[in-house]
């Protein structure tokens, strides 16, 4: 079943895209992540131009994070205030990201930058998560309880000025690192077409010591807005959002997510994290492979100025 994508200007197989969405939806339900970091590389492997893959990925992320955030909002595991401060930083970072995106595109270095960012970030986050989850699995085997949050333990971040109280997260922390994390995630969201959950979650847990139960909901909440902002700006500045492509991915993704969640409930937290780490590393390796192995053709064509 072929379908013509009006913005990407190419004919693709509808079933492949629905399956791609469903697979990523399954994984995002399984691991509680938005799935943008999988969608964008998959689209690039499927020969969708990177600029369109990135902008459309951001569009798709809205759907999955909105449906996820709704669930967390009902459960009360969402810190709206923390989310809004992260968002303020996120919008600044995202605007900067769009500017950098357009500039790199004009230089012909966008593909490289997107690949590099993916390799470096996915590689390091995946590596750290794998180490952490392996330790947790070992601890669990030796009978010790694993805890990520160690109250009373403070780092340099907690000595910064301009403190603010976040009641739902039981947190009293300076707004500077919160804004900073938001800005970095916003920047990555617009350059990489990701929600940034896979960086946001560890950053909130390890840097800000936000309780694990509110982290995912809060991260999803602010990702909705950053991804929405990114989508709108990409569509006005670069006209690279393909709604037909995004819609196919969303439908597959939303359907796949529920099965992922069901399977996810049967697995243990540290096992899930180890699996997610392996998945993230696999994507990073695949992208690194393209970067370091001699391409089939060293030449490529790009549209005019």
């Amino acid at each position: 079943m072929g379908i013509y994508l009006p913005i990407a200007e190419m004919s693709v197989n509808m079933v492949v895209l629905l399956a791609m969405g469903a697979t990523v939806g399954f994984l995002s339900g399984l691991f509680g992540v938005g799935g943008g970091f999988l969608i964008t590389p998959l689209l690039i492997f499927y020969n969708v131009p990177p600029a369109i893959a990135v902008a459309t990925g951001a569009n798709q992320v809205i759907a999955s994070s909105f449906s996820g955030a709704l669930a967390h909002f009902k459960r009360g595991t969402l810190d709206v205030k923390l989310g809004l401060v992260l968002l303020a930083g996120g919008l600044v970072g995202s605007s900067l990201g769009i500017y950098v995106f357009a500039y790199l595109r004009s230089l012909g270095q966008l593909d490289l930058m997107v690949s590099l960012l993916y390799v470096v970030l996915l590689g390091s986050v995946g590596g750290l998560m794998l180490v952490e989850s392996m330790r947790a699995i070992q601890r669990a085997r030796s009978g010790q309880g694993a805890s990520l949050r160690r109250p009373g333990q403070h780092n340099w971040i907690h000595r910064l000025p301009l403190k603010m109280r976040f009641r739902a997260s039981k947190l009293f922390v300076s707004v500077i690192p919160v804004l900073g994390i938001g800005a970095v995630i916003g920047f990555l969201a617009s350059v990489m077409g990701v929600g940034g959950g896979f960086i946001m979650v560890p950053a909130l847990i390890y840097l800000l010591k936000v309780p694990t139960n509110v982290v995912v909901g809060t991260s999803l909440f602010q990702i909705i807005f950053v991804a929405a902002y990114t989508t709108v700006v990409h569509s006005t500045a670069n006209q690279t959002v393909d709604v037909v492509l995004a819609f196919l991915l969303m439908v597959g993704g939303v359907a796949g997510a529920q099965y992922g969640t069901r399977v996810g409930q049967k697995l243990r937290g540290e096992q899930l994290r180890a699996l997610l780490a392996l998945l993230v590393l696999a994507v990073a390796l695949r992208l690194a492979f393209d970067l370091f192995v001699k391409p089939a053709s060293v030449y490529s064509l790009a549209g005019g100025l």
């Binding site: 072929g2 009006p6 190419m10 759907a63 669930a71 959002v241 490529s300 005019g304």
Partner: protein, 262 residues
């Protein structure tokens, strides 16, 4: 008898005279093409297509036709666009775009159909004079200050990339004579054929000599919903972006209603 012979002779002379007159100033052959439509619409299930162009020869010499010495080449040329060719080189072990050459007015696509193998139609010099055929498309760099060697390499790469992408194609035997004067050309359009105004051109050869060229415009555009989405995205990009966001939120919300998991 003598009288009869004389008539025959006169008749023969007349015939010969007419034939001579025809050889002296024959009606020039012409070529015409007709497009069944002046626009091709790309719909949601578009996956490449064959475009058929009919054409006819005017004042074709029956003898030459009979011997099959007329040859026709039909070209569908895509809209001219500035195209940048980039080359990757190895930097710190990574393959990075380092060099680029921009070319002006590069036909976005170039589909050729011809009656037989190109070398059997005419000689390379004619092809290059007519800028006819994938290897002879006129490609000029935007900035001519680059080294000639580099430009040559990038020009070759541009052609090759277009061929790999299926945008520059040649269909030998794609033009067939249906009768002595009527021919049909079958041109291949790639699934990602660029939209815009294309130019259909037909070239007529006799015994390897170029006679005449004719052309007709053909618009390739997206049809229906695809066209509206594309225009919407281009002309009202802010609204389009907001619509994309709304669609995503609606899908997410509906997804949660349909597949509630808690």
């Amino acid at each position: 008898m003598l009288f009869r012979r004389g008539v025959l002779l006169i008749l023969l002379l007349t015939v010969a005279g007419q034939a001579a007159a025809q050889q002296e100033e024959p009606q020039p052959e012409g070529i015409q093409i007709g497009l069944s439509t002046d626009s091709v619409a790309i719909t949601s299930d578009f996956a490449g297509t064959n475009l058929t162009i009919f054409g006819a020869l005017d004042n074709a010499d029956p003898l030459v036709s009979l011997q099959g010495r007329y040859d026709v080449i039909v070209v569908l040329e895509g809209p001219p666009r500035t195209t940048v060719v980039r080359r990757k080189t190895r930097v710190l072990g990574m393959w990075i775009n380092t060099q680029s050459v921009a070319f002006r007015d590069v036909p976005a696509s170039y589909s050729v159909a011809m009656t037989r193998q190109p070398q059997d139609i005419t000689d390379p010099a004619s092809y290059s004079r007519l800028a006819l055929g994938v290897d002879n498309i006129h490609l000029r760099p935007l900035d001519a200050s680059n080294a000639p060697m580099t430009i040559e390499e990038f020009t070759a790469a541009l052609r090759q990339q277009k061929e790999v992408a299926g945008l520059y194609v040649e269909n030998v035997g794609g033009v067939q004579f249906l009768s002595r004067t009527l021919f049909r050309a079958t041109l291949y359009l790639a699934p990602h054929v660029p939209v815009g105004t294309h130019k259909a051109r037909a070239f007529l050869f006799r015994n390897g000599t170029f006679l005449r060229e004719t052309s007709a415009p053909l618009t390739i555009r997206k049809a229906g919903v695809e066209q509206r989405i594309f225009e919407f995205a281009q002309q009202q990009s802010l609204l389009y972006g907001l619509f994309a966001v709304l669609l995503a939120i609606l899908t997410g919300w509906l997804g949660r209603l349909l597949f509630r998991r808690d």
